[in-house]
Structure formats: C-alpha cells, structure tokens
Amino acid sequence: MTDYLTLKDLRSYYGQIQALHGITFELSEGSVTTLLGANGAGKTTTLRAICGMVRSTGTIQFDGRPLIGLSTESIVKLGIAHVPQGRGTFTRMNVEENLQLGAITRSDRAAIADDIERMFTLFPVLKERRVQQAGLLSGGEQQMLAVARALMLRPRLLLLDEPSFGLAPLVVRELFKTLTQINREEKTTILVVEQNAQLALELADTAYVIETGQIVQSGPAAEIANNEDIRKSYLGY
C-alpha cells in the first residue's frame, strides 16, 4: 500500500521550546491509526504540525506533496480535515452554518446540500438542532458537530484530537462506530489522537505511542492492546 501520509524526523517548536524530537511514521491510504500517549507527550503537536500550525523542520508528505511551509488553509484545501482539541465550534452560529463552513472551500452547491443531509442522517441529533446556536449544544453534540463539519470537506485524511474528551462512554462508542462506518464507506484515512487508549485501540488498525516528543512503541493495534507491559508503562491501564 502506498504511504499516504509520511512524517520523517519531524521536529516542532513552540518558540524556543522543542516539543517533537524527530517523529517518524507513515499511514497508508484508508487506514485507521491512533496516536497514544500521556498528557504533554506531543500528540496534539503532531497533528498541529501536519496542519502547519506549529514551526517544524523535517519532512511531512501527503500523497507525495510536502506540507511543511504551506499555510494551514492551503493544507486544508489538499483534503486534510482537522477536528481540534476543544472542537473549535463556531458557537455563535447555528448548526447548519457550522456545517456550511465545513464546505466553504467547495463550489459544488448541490453536492454540499446533499452532504448536509447526509450528516443529518449520520448524526440524527444534529438534525433536531439544525437552527440552534451551536454554543447551546451539549458536549457530545458539539463533538459530533465538529466531526460532521470536518466531514463536509469530503476529506481524504481526517485528523481527530482527543474526540472522547469530556464525553460519556456510551456517546464515545457511538462516535467511534460512526467513524468506523465512514472509514469503511468513504475510505477516509483517519488519524486519531487519544488519551483514552482502550477505546482508541478498538477503533484503530495501527497504533503509535508517543512519549516526550518521540515514538517509543508502534505496531498493530490489537498487539499493543494485548501487551500488558506497554499498557502499564505508557497507557496507564
């Protein structure tokens, strides 16, 4: 399988502070990968580096195209959608406007309208809240809205940063089920950063573990999940 997203010796900096010390991994097209690790390990920074939101050196390639040096909006236009930590919902706009914003770079009006309806099928609770201000939605609903907004881009690569944060387990399971469905139907490549390792490992094919800015473990998700030592040392369970 072709290497769809490649990171090679990625080093990222917040001002003078170096957060990533040489991250290297690849994703293949259509795969679901999870990036695990403790707080502050560098998981979020990795996603932000992919989206050009943090100063980086090294190589990031997406489908053959180098990403370092591009602006965030250019990277998005290449088909990479990022659901950030904290969701980044446009709280003062309603649900439908948030979805429309997800597709703001597309010009196929009819298809956009269709996609909005599709989102309402995938996430029925959003349909009920169609014209409600997004800021009034519950945590779980806002997370679903954030994912739906990202999907409106028709992304080829979907990045999710701690989608389970602050959500009830049942809600998270529903969300992950939907993500699996999307991956199967649309062949969308997914990279999920999670602190909740257990659920993430059930969802993913491959897992990488980050600690203090470096990859320390990698392998098929099932193996990592069954490896007690790794779980205890890095994942806390």
Binding site: C51, V76, I104
Partner: protein, 292 residues
C-alpha cells in the same frame, strides 16, 4: 411636543451617520481587536474623492458609487500593505500605525484639495420632507440610505458564503483556517467594507458640516461613542448605539441649557469614559475574559 418630535427625528437623521461610522469601526474591531483611529480621515478622503469626481462632471450617483468603490479598494490596499505586517507587533506599534495613517490622510487631503471649506451637494435637496416642518429631504435621505446600507450588509453577512466566511474569520480565526478560510484576506475584506461604509457616511454628512479636511474628527468621536455603547463586538449594537447617540445629542442640545452646540464633544468624551468604565461591554455586547 412638536419640538421634541422634531429633535428626535433630527437626532435619528444624524444618528444614521453616527451609526455608519460606528459600524465601520466595529467591522475592523471584530477583525483585528483594534480601533481604527483613522476611520474618520478615510471617510473624509473618500468624500473628497467624490467631490473631485463631481468637479470633473460625473453625475451625483456616479460619483457616489465611484467613491464607494475606490474606497473599498483603498481599504483593502491599506490593510494589505500597512497593517498586515504590523499584525504581530505590540499594541503601541499598531496604535502608532493608526496615528501615522491619520496624519498621512489628513495631510494629503489638505495638500491635494487645500484647507478651505467647500460645499457639497445633496441629492435630496433641503426642502421639507413631504411638506412637514420636522425634517428636511436630506435628513430623510440620510436615514433611508443608511437603512438600505444596513439591509444590504445584513443580507451579505447572513446569506452569502463570503459573509459567512468573514464572520467565521472574525470570531474564531484558528477554526476558520481549519476549514480552509484565508483569514488574512477576510480581514482585508473587512477593511474594504469598513472603508466603503465610511465613504457613504462622509458623503451623506458633508452637505451638513461642509467639506474640509478636519470635518470628521467630531463625527468619528460620535461613531466611537455609538460603537462603545453598542458593545464593540456587536454590529447591530453599534448601529443602535449610533442612533441613540444622535438622539441624545439633539435632546441634550435642546433641553439642557448649558450644553448648546458648544459642549457636544466634551459630552461625547464623558459618555465614552462613562460607558467604558461602568459597562465596558456596552449595552449589547458580550463580556470578555482576560487570560492570566
């Protein structure tokens, strides 16, 4: 009673201009968290451009829309060349940038068109409106044009994709980038619109205050009062604030003996300070939390 109605209506008419200035100020504020101290000067310059077009024989509405279009481009250009590089600089440097812009525009207007007072025509004339003694045609015209302008803007922001993108860029720039919006260009667009709105305000008020390079300082001050009253984060509030200021100004001038025409600006100052101190979010705005 008729005097009161007269003053309220007149206040609404001038309030329309203040509403325009307030709107232009808030438009830029939403985009960059800064007050454009040079907004009044830009409006003045736009009015001079319109005057020049008229001098060259362009019919009134041609000059009107011509100036508005040129102002739009000018606003975009100023943002891209001057303020975009300054975006990451300190507050002090940015304020210095605005003051520099103020000086350059004010001075250039004087250079090009000199400092003598000129008269500026009104497309409506000053005949009584519908025969009434209360307001003139021009005052009614100011009011209706402002309403049309506001309607267009409302439509633009609510129902067009660019309007939606601009709103997104203004409220959450990071999230906006993540959906592919070029925030830099949205800010430039905001400046262009603000400049265009300012042009409308200047062209409408010029027949009343006469055209000269220092005509807009007081008007801008009232625009700031309106914007602050409405809470700097709310365009609708800014508009409402502008109208309120117009009405209050007229009523105070008529009913409070000391005030008269002479104390208008100090009263405006007092209003700004009072609102900022006691209710910084204005009457309609949202509270801002400062991170430690």
């Amino acid at each position: 009673m008729e005097l009161l109605t007269n003053q309220v209506l007149a206040g609404i008419a001038t309030g329309a201009i203040y509403a325009c200035m307030a709107l232009a100020v808030v438009m830029i504020y939403e985009a960059i968290d800064h007050l454009n101290f040079a907004q009044g000067e830009m409006a003045m310059f736009s009015t001079f451009i319109a005057w020049q077009l008229l001098e060259w024989g362009v019919p009134y509405w041609g000059a009107f829309f011509g100036s508005v279009a040129i102002s739009f481009c000018g606003g975009v250009a100023i943002e891209r060349t001057l303020f975009r590089p300054l975006a990451t600089a300190s507050i002090l440097v940015q304020i210095a940038g605005f003051i520099a812009l103020f000086s350059i525009i004010n001075s250039s207007a004087g250079l090009i068109w000199d400092f003598s007072i000129k008269s500026f025509p009104s497309p409506f004339g000053s005949a009584p409106f519908l025969g009434s003694q209360l307001i003139s045609d021009h005052q009614a015209g100011m009011f209706f044009i402002t309403l049309i302008l506001l309607g267009l803007l409302y439509f633009f922001f609510r129902f067009t994709r660019i309007g939606l993108a601009m709103r997104a860029a203004a409220t959450l720039p990071d999230s906006a980038r993540l959906v592919g919006i070029n925030v830099g260009w949205m800010i430039a667009l905001g400046w262009g619109l603000a400049a265009a709105i300012g042009a409308v305000a200047g062209i409408l008020i010029a027949p009343v205050v006469f055209l000269e390079p220092n005509m807009m300082a007081g008007v801008l001050l009232y625009g700031f009062v309106g914007a602050v009253l409405g809470g700097l984060s709310s365009p609708a509030g800014a508009v409402a604030g502008g109208f309120m200021v117009g009405i209050l100004e007229n009523l105070a001038g008529t009913y409070i003996p000391v005030v008269g025409n002479e104390l208008k600006l100090p009263i405006a100052l007092a209003m700004i300070v009072t609102v900022l101190v006691f209710r910084p979010t204005g009457l309609f705005g949202r509270p801002q939390v400062q991170r430690v």
